[in-house]
Each structure stands twice: as structure tokens, then as C-alpha cells.
């Protein structure tokens, strides 16, 4: 059997599945999945401009500085923001609560920093919404 003869036989006899058609709702299913994931992709592909990054970093630092000051004052239960400290002092007097808050705070700051590194480096971050 020559190469041409073999090609002829295979071409004639191979199952091409010509009669095969995908399910009626196949396109809809694909599009549904595409739309579902589109938002997360948009976020992942977002690029921040330098001014936005500065604003974000500055805003976040300011926010955490405020929280830390309030937190510190609350622990000491002294001066300045008395009404806040009076409110939270009883809760914070509990050692377990105090340590738990510190751990949560550190965790949030670390996560924030880790999230900022790829943004500043201009790389994609994959956040599944």
C-alpha cells in the first residue's frame, strides 16, 4: 500500500463526526461562565496610575495611623479621646481580647502590604470575587 493509497483510505473512512452538534445551550453556558468570571478578570487586569498608588498608600497609612492612635489611647484609657477609650476600655481590659486585636491588626497590615507589592510592581493580582 502506497502512502497516497493509505491517505485515501483514511480520509474516506475516518470518523469525522460530521453529524455531531454541540448541545443547544452550549454557547449560553460558555457565555454565562465568561460573564461570571469577567468581573474578577477586570479587577485582576486593573492597572493603577502612580498618583492613585500614592493616594492609596497615603490613605491606607493615614487610616492605620488613626486606628493605632485610637487603639493605643484606648488601651491606656487616658486623655484625649476619652469617649472612645471609655467605650472600649472595658473590652480591652480583657487580655485575650487585647492580644486578639493585636494579631488581627498585624494580619490586616501584612495582607495589605502583600496586596500592594504586586500592584506597585505593575503585575496582575488574582482576586476572585
Amino acid at each position: 500500500m502506497t502512502r497516497e493509497e493509505l491517505d485515501k483510505i483514511v480520509r474516506k473512512s475516518i470518523n469525522t463526526f460530521d453529524a455531531y452538534k454541540t448541545s443547544d445551550n452550549f454557547t449560553n453556558r460558555v457565555m454565562q461562565q465568561v460573564y461570571l468570571n469577567h468581573r474578577s478578570v477586570s479587577v485582576a487586569n486593573a492597572r493603577l496610575r502612580p498618583a492613585q498608588i500614592m493616594l492609596l498608600v497615603f490613605g491606607t497609612l493615614l487610616m492605620w495611623a488613626t486606628i493605632i492612635v485610637l487603639f493605643w489611647n484606648a488601651i491606656d484609657a487616658t486623655n484625649m479621646l476619652n469617649y472612645v477609650s471609655q467605650l472600649v476600655a472595658p473590652i480591652l481590659s480583657n487580655v485575650v481580647v487585647k492580644y486578639a486585636l493585636v494579631v488581627i491588626l498585624i494580619h490586616i497590615v501584612v495582607v495589605r502590604i502583600l496586596l500592594f507589592i504586586p500592584i506597585i510592581a505593575g503585575r496582575k493580582i488574582s482576586i476572585k470575587l
Partner: protein
Amino acid sequence: MSQNDDFYYLDLILAGDVSAYRWIVDKYKDQSCRLALQLVKNKEDAEEIVQDAFVRAFHSVHKFNRTASFSTWLFRIVYNGCIDKIRKKSITTSSLSEMTGKEFGSQIATDQSGLMRDERKKYVDIAISALSVEEQALVSLFYVHEKDMNEISNILNLTHGNVRKRMTRVREKLKGTLEKMLNTEITNLL
């Protein structure tokens, strides 16, 4: 519909028009499913793989560099999906002819020439089933989808020379199996 049409719709998608992807899906869904079906031999698995491939292609559409056609790029994703599926799950290799009879309602030929044609199809199916998955993909892309060597090398991630070598080996295997099965009848069928 030309390759330019694909690029036109891809540009729309990149500009944010997600609905333009529907056109791409409609155009390539059947071809892609046929390729997957030839490799995984199960309709549900094939559709699942192709659906996943379309979603992956959409997410990576900005990475598509347009050096090859969109179908080549998509077929590569489908092929990789099939390989993953086969690795994960040992698919029972039911004969292709059995599937056509059950699932696609092929007509049973009653006349002599019809019987000969059916016999020949059966032998070719058996010979192809005996090949490895990669070789089956090669056969499908070359004989069914009529892709050229460059496109096949892109889809299978092989060099051009490697595709040629493998194609020669596949032909030898098919020839050996068919000659064994058909013996001298092969010449009468031509």
C-alpha cells in the same frame, strides 16, 4: 468567514465587548468538540473540555499574539485539556464506530457497497484507536481538520520536523494494522 473576522471580534472583546465572544464560540464550538470527541471518546467529557477551553481562551485573549490563526490557538488549548482529562481519568476507549451507531444514529447500510464501506470504517477506527492519544490527535488534525504541518506543530507544541517524523511513524502503524486486518482485500476496496 476569514481570519480577519476573528481578529475583528477579538478586537471588540479586547475593547470590552464581552458579547462579541458569542460569535467566536458559535463559530468554533463544533470543530473543537469534534477534535475533543476524537480524543476522549465521550460526548460529555468533550463538551466539558471545550467549554473550559473557551473560558480559558477568553481570559487569555490578551496573550494571543496573532502569529497563528485563532483556531490553531484554541485547538491547542482544547488538545491540552484533553490530555489533562485523559491523565486524570482513565477513559474507557470505546470504539468510535460503536459511538456513531449509538449516539449519532448512523445509517446501517444494507447494500453490498454499504457493507464494505462500514467494514472499512470499522477497520480504520480500530487502527486509529490503537494509536497513542498524541498520534490520534495528529491523525484527526491532518485528515479531519486538514491542518497543515505548521499548524499541527503549533497545536501539539512540537517542532515541524518532529511532526513530519511522527506522521511518517503514524502512517506506518496504520498501514501495518490495516494490512493485517484487511490482508489482500485492501486492494479490492480501492
